[in-house]
């Protein structure tokens, strides 16, 4: 589904992604974790074509992703992205946030798009918020709408960048359970998160990054019981140990 080979990326002189290779099969859920600054966000953004790369290749569904090509807009429609800060469109109501892209980009009529949006609102449990303004929603609700917005384009792949780290603790659960259900439905997903309980339950594989490299790529069982690298052990100790 997603194949990354020998990917390198610099921000000026900072080498943020070093020789990344990764293969994601359909229906897999990958959890990316690692210390701050290790390049997780950057990796996700390159897959969506939001960052250029220096060398290597990224293919999604067999097609090369290149931010400078003409195909990038169509390709992005097939790669959903959920941001840490939600980035809902504040000038639009909830329903318009969800239907804008299908209407403008897929040529759906308003009725078609809204019917589909209502199903999605059901799925994220916010049917009654249909016409409210986004700024009246709680963080957890905003993030659930953001997920619905990404799903509205019916992408085969979803990318999540720390979807719960801007939320108050009591709202983390509602967002994670939506993602959990998506996983059960067989959605292919890449999720950066530090919610280790969620990772253990949902992930098919854990990707541990440090200093721009993939240090471990293993099953959750293996990762949590017997991490191979010292860095992963230290990371787990920091995050679980206290």
């Amino acid at each position: 589904m997603i194949t990354i080979t020998h990917l390198d990326k610099h921000f000026d002189r900072l080498h943020v992604l070093k020789d990344i290779s990764l293969n994601v099969k359909p229906g897999e859920v990958l959890v990316l974790c690692g210390p701050s600054g290790s390049g997780k966000t950057t990796l996700l953004r390159t897959i969506n074509g939001l960052e250029t790369i220096d060398s290597g290749t990224i293919t999604v569904d067999g097609e090369t992703v290149d931010p400078k090509s003409r195909e990038i807009r169509r390709q992005r429609q097939g790669i959903g992205f959920v941001f840490q800060q939600f980035n809902l469109f504040p000038h639009l109501s909830v329903i318009d946030n969800i239907t804008l892209a299908p209407r403008k980009l897929k040529g759906l009529t308003r009725d078609e798009a809204e019917a589909r949006a209502m199903q999605l609102l059901d799925r994220v449990g916010l049917r009654d918020k249909r016409d409210v303004h986004t700024d009246t929603l709680s963080g957890g609700q905003q993030q659930r709408i953001a997920i619905a917005r990404a799903l509205a384009m019916e992408p085969p792949v979803l990318l999540f960048d720390e979807p719960t780290s801007a939320l108050d603790p009591e709202m983390v659960g509602e967002v994670l359970s939506v993602i959990r259900e998506l996983a059960q439905d067989g959605m292919t997903m890449l999720c950066v998160t530090h919610e280790m309980g969620f990772a253990r339950d949902v992930a098919s594989r854990i990707i541990f990054m440090a200093d721009g490299r993939i240090v471990e790529d293993t099953s959750p069982g293996q990762f949590f019981s017997a991490p191979e690298s010292a860095r992963a052990r230290a990371f787990l100790q920091d995050i679980l140990g206290h």
């Binding site: 169509r74 390709q75 992005r76 941001f83 000038h91 892209a101 403008k104």
Partner: protein, 234 residues
């Protein structure tokens, strides 16, 4: 003052109309409103090269806007009044001259407001749109511009009151807007000139002060909305 209003009120309001072209306060308001309406598209158009990623285009646009903003409006008025006819061979009546000048002058200022409004939006808005598959132009049209224009609303209201004040310079080339009309009346009523000037000031106050208050109120609303949009409840 009441007496002056009773006798000359109509003249102050519409000038010598219908015997002469429309003048007085009516002309002031028409010039200001149509000036703003026409300056909006000019400002939006000028914002395009100002945000161009092609250096020379951006530099040229900046230069033009800088030129317009660094020369006194009065001097612009004189340029358009005396030099436009020489250059393009057509001369316009004073009121039209005033309108052309106001549109270009305010267009330059509005273009800067537009650019500032666009740049003030969080980057996440553009990225969210791009990640859904919108192109640059579509992102601008559906996501960025609607928000930028909403945030600009208070500035545009202030812009209207600026335009109302700027029309007074029409008196320099004999456009019979409010100031010119009141000045003419003051000449005809030597003993009561000071009352006429006071009325003139009051008239502008009555037009501009409400706009000032509306602008402030809008600023507060937009400011609040903006805050919520950029700092999501966490």
């Amino acid at each position: 003052m009441i007496e002056i209003l009773q006798t000359y009120g109509m003249q102050l309001l519409i000038g010598g109309f219908p015997h002469t072209p429309l003048g007085g306060l009516a002309l002031t308001v028409i010039l200001a409103v149509s000036g703003l309406v026409l300056a909006m598209p000019v400002g939006l158009l000028m914002a395009v090269p100002l945000r161009s990623r092609f250096r020379p285009v951006k530099a040229l646009a900046e230069l033009i806007v800088f030129y317009i903003r660094s020369v006194p409006l009065l001097l612009h008025v004189l340029w358009v009044y005396f030099l436009m006819p020489a250059i393009i061979g057509v001369s316009f009546p004073p009121a039209i001259t005033m309108l052309i000048t106001l549109v270009l002058f305010n267009g330059a200022y509005i273009s800067k407001i537009v650019v500032a409004g666009i740049d003030a939006l969080p980057r996440g808005q553009t990225e969210a749109a791009l990640s859904l598959g919108f192109g640059r132009v579509q992102t601008m049209r559906h996501i960025i511009l609607p928000q930028a224009l909403r945030n600009m609303l208070p500035s545009l209201v202030s812009q209207l009151s600026l335009l109302i004040k700027e029309t007074a310079l029409g008196a320099a080339i004999g456009a019979t807007e409010a100031t010119q009309t009141f000045l003419d009346l003051a000449d005809n009523l030597p003993g009561q000139a000071i009352q006429v000037y006071a009325l003139l000031a009051l008239a502008y106050f009555a037009l501009c002060y409400p706009l000032l208050l509306i602008g402030r109120r809008l600023e507060r609303c937009v400011g609040k909305a903006q805050k919520i949009a950029t700092e999501p409840a966490s």
